[in-house]
């Protein structure tokens, strides 16, 4: 393998079977030590996974390797040779390509323009574009990466955009490719396609580093895996010799339950009844095209789908901050969809609680203290307003109690929301909504950007609420979460419900097809 892939490189004094070796990398952002004395070896021609929780320092480490940040200490060896990487250009010159989690594409440029940007041949564009067009065609054939070279980026789906990022790296003749959380925005089918591409690239002798927090991906596609926790590298193991449970334990530092532990649901009366719900947005595009849903007491209805297929609009309408047409009944009574009685305040009064998808933008005010945040939406509660002025002491006391019950760390009500980790921020929002004992809980992306340990806790809370006989509408782009938590699954695509399934009677493959808008003849109404 090494003999066939490396003839063009100058012989290195070190170990030439290694594509990358990092020794003693440290990096601090202010008081936060993002990377602590990290050493890692990545063999040439392998797919090497780096797994860890949010904030474990994976992205920082790779950004150092790509010259986006400068390490405080440590050495980088590429193909056995000590290499200084002061900026991205140096990384590119060393044959490293990076696909960032948030794509670095110019949205209103064509695919070709994006590919050549920064790697043009000469001062004039025309020859560069012609050369790139030819090469792109070749790459498309070699790795099934078909992308229209003249398409504008913003017109492409995320899967295609990601391919452009990979093409950018290959155009720069990268033979070490780093991908940061590449599947977060992809459908399962797109993710499988990506993995096929990556395996193809590996078989060509390229080295791939895959950063992810999803255990399933690591098990599926990598050869070796390194685990990071709190800025430190805790282990590097061969994928074939490990298990998801072991990796999770290495990531979190204790045993975690990966499966959601819940009893079968015992659904009761219909709590929420949605009929022919339609939403038209500012650009006159219909975002919801006639949604029909029933949610019963004591069940969790999961809405699966790729982000941007109407799930957000559905939550916004139900929570009362977007207008719509159609009808919604809560406990048998109609709910106003327009007018002044359709705001979030009224919805709360009807016992609908909402944990928004984007907790930092909609769920919390990041600069406000936890005790203030925990009162938002319920600020008119008589307990907080004994007289003319608000009773801050009571609010703080209330917050302290809720923080204790939801295991928010640190349990300090005076701390600003932004000072908590993602998981603890989410617990604050959950505590605020669940503790009001709502009949219906709307939850959007409950574990986005949340550590594995906190995911376990959040899932337990949601199941506990269900077991109390409450109805729960769960929206998530994480298929594993939908499968594990829901009692019934509805798949959304392009503003419609493509079908409903029972978790026990479906699989990722079938749901993935529905998420892509594909229904076969037999897939009609189920359950």
């Amino acid at each position: 393998m090494t003999s066939s892939s490396g003839p063009s490189y100058t012989p290195a004094p070190g170990d030439t079977s290694l594509a990358i070796e990092l020794r003693g990398i440290s990096k601090a952002f202010g008081p936060v030590q993002a990377n602590k004395d990290i050493s890692i070896q990545v063999k040439r021609g392998t797919i090497h996974g780096i797994i860890g929780e949010n904030g474990a320092g994976k992205s920082t480490l790779m950004s150092i390797l790509y010259g986006f940040y400068k390490a405080d200490a440590g050495e980088v060896f590429i193909r056995g040779q000590r290499t200084e990487i002061p900026d991205s250009q140096a990384a590119i010159d060393a044959g490293i390509g990076m696909v960032f989690q948030h794509f670095k594409l110019v949205e209103n440029f064509s695919v070709l323009e994006n590919v050549i940007l920064g790697a043009e041949d000469g001062r004039l564009l025309t020859p560069s574009l012609a050369k790139a067009r030819k090469l792109l065609k070749q790459l498309a054939e070699d790795y099934e990466m078909d992308v229209d070279p003249d398409a504008t980026i913003e017109d492409l789906g995320v899967g295609q955009q990601q391919r452009v990022e990979i093409l950018k790296a290959l155009y720069r003749e990268a033979d070490i490719l780093i991908l940061d959380e590449p599947t977060g925005v992809l459908t399962p089918a797109e993710a499988d396609h990506l993995f096929r591409i990556l395996k193809g690239l590996r078989d060509e002798g390229k080295t791939i580093i895959l950063i992810t927090h999803k255990l399933r991906e690591i098990m599926e596609v990598t050869d070796t895996v390194s685990v990071m926790r709190r800025g430190e590298m805790t282990a590097t193991v061969k994928t074939a010799e490990t298990s998801p449970e072991q990796l999770a334990e290495l990531m979190v530092g204790r045993k975690v339950l990966l499966r959601v532990d819940k009893a079968p649901a015992t659904p009761g009366d219909v709590v929420l009844k949605v009929r022919d719900l339609r939403v038209v947005d500012d650009q006159n595009v219909e975002r919801l095209r006639g949604i029909d849903l029933d949610i019963r007491r004591g069940e969790i209805l999961g809405i699966a789908g790729v982000a941007g297929n109407g799930q957000s609009e559905l939550l916004e309408v139900l929570a009362g901050y977007a207008t719509a047409t159609g009808s919604i009944q809560m406990n048998g009574q109609d709910i106003d969809l327009t007018g002044h009685a359709s705001d979030a305040q009224t919805r709360r009064a009807r016992s609908i609680a909402h944990v928004p998808e984007d907790r930092q933008r909609e769920g919390l005010i990041m600069d406000f203290a936890a005790w203030e945040n925990i009162a938002f939406g319920y600020q008119n509660d008589p307990r907080y307003n004994p007289g003319l002025l608000m009773d801050h002491a009571a609010m703080r006391q209330d917050c302290t109690e809720k923080m204790a019950r939801f295991d928010v760390r640190p349990p300090d009500p005076t701390l600003a929301a932004k000072s908590f980790s993602g998981g603890n921020q989410q617990k604050i929002v959950l505590a605020r909504e669940i503790e009001r004992n709502p009949d219906l809980l709307l939850v959007g992306q409950p574990t986005r950007g949340v550590d594995i340990g906190a995911i376990e806790f959040i899932h337990q809370q949601i199941v506990a609420l269900r077991d109390e006989g409450k109805a729960i509408l769960l929206v998530s782009v994480e298929l594993d979460e939908i499968m594990g938590l829901s009692d019934r699954i509805a798949v959304m695509f392009d503003g419609r419900i493509m079908g409903e399934r029972l978790p026990s009677e479906t699989n990722q493959g079938e749901l993935g097809l529905l998420m892509a808008g594909i229904t076969n003849g037999t897939a009609g109404e189920a359950a």
Binding site: F29, Y66, F68, Y69, D87, S88, Q89, A90, A91, I92, D93, M98, F100, H102, K104, L105, V106, E107, N108, F109, E113, N114, I116, L117, G118, A119, E120, G122, R123, L124, L125, T126, S128, K168
Partner: protein
């Protein structure tokens, strides 16, 4: 209205559109790179003063032109340091430059010449004279085309032709060169440029300095070609009209030519028709002269359809964590 009268109005439109066009293209370079620049006005004014002062002193308009460009580029560099290096607020920096230029020009002018804030009248070689294009006199008797050539196209200061030439050149740079591609990219998504291994800071400084150069040309044209010397506040809001034209033009060079010619035409009409009778009502002079400014307000209020500015415009580039 006779044909010759129309030609005269168009000829005057072209002369009045020239400083707008230069300033508009200046703004185009800067904003396409993601640096908002409301300091066009100040840079023009600085250049107008410096070119007139140096031309009056040396008696050579070309030296004056170089001095004017230098003054404008110094201000551009200040804007660059404030908004690129120190990631300051681009609007505040621009406002500061406008005040700085308006104040300094008058103060220095008074100190040097003692004429109440103006420079001496420029005459002869200390001012750009009108260039008669070849054959203009010979063909002037040819009906229509000859008259257009002799009266409209020929007989302008050299900077008018430079400004017109700047339009295709700007287009070519933006859409046909590596520099142009990177410049447009850095105004849309600097992170894409950064991760592609190209210096965001370098590109933005280059754009800001080109902006300074073009504003310098615009200012020098005001004081040494359109006028004959520097007068207090002589740019008269042209920097802001150029910004409106830039929005009107949707940040594209050829559209910029059209937009600035429209503004030039309105100004020319206002100058030519001091009073107009329309349907028995006399339209006051003030209204006619306010036309370009009224159009500016209309454009800025968004009556001309959606204009999407460069997406990273106004945002200092900071690597995300």
């Amino acid at each position: 209205m006779s044909f010759l009268e129309i030609l005269q109005i168009l000829e005057s439109s072209l002369r009045l559109a020239t400083p707008l066009l230069l300033a508009c293209l200046a703004g185009l370079f800067s904003e396409r790179a993601g640096i908002f620049d409301i300091g066009l006005e100040g840079k023009m004014l600085a250049s107008a003063f410096m070119s007139a002062a140096v031309a009056a002193y040396t008696g050579d308009v070309w030296i004056g032109l170089v001095a004017g460009i230098f003054a404008s580029m110094v201000l551009a560099a200040i804007h660059g340091v404030a908004s690129i290096t120190f990631r300051g607020n681009q609007l505040i920096s621009g406002v500061a430059i406008n005040f700085l230029a308006a104040g300094l020009a008058v103060v220095i002018s008074q100190a040097w010449f003692g004429l109440g804030g103006r420079t001496p009248q420029l005459q002869g070689p200390s001012r750009f004279s009108e260039v008669t294009l070849p054959l203009a006199d010979a063909v002037s008797s040819v009906p229509f085309l000859g008259a257009i050539y002799a009266n409209l196209i020929s007989g302008h200061a050299i900077l008018v032709y430079v400004a017109l030439l700047c339009v295709p050149v700007t287009w070519w740079i933006l859409y046909r060169t590596r520099f142009g591609l990177r410049l447009r990219a850095v105004g849309e998504n600097p992170a894409a440029v950064d991760t592609a291994g190209v210096s965001v800071v370098g590109l933005r400084y280059a754009a800001v300095m080109i902006c300074g150069l073009l504003c310098g040309l615009a200012g020098a044209y005001l004081a040494t070609a359109l006028g004959a010397g520097f007068v207090k506040d002589m740019s008269a809001g042209r920097g802001f009209i150029a910004l409106a034209a830039l929005i009107f033009a949707k940040w594209r060079p050829w559209y910029a030519l059209g937009a600035t010619l429209l503004f030039g035409l309105l100004e020319a009409l206002g100058n030519r028709f001091q009073t107009v009778e329309l349907l028995g009502v006399t339209i006051p002079t003030q209204f006619m002269q306010a036309l370009p400014y009224i159009l500016t307000v209309v454009i800025l209020a968004g009556f001309v359809g959606k204009a999407i500015p460069p997406r990273a415009g106004g945002e200092p580039y900071v690597k995300e964590r």
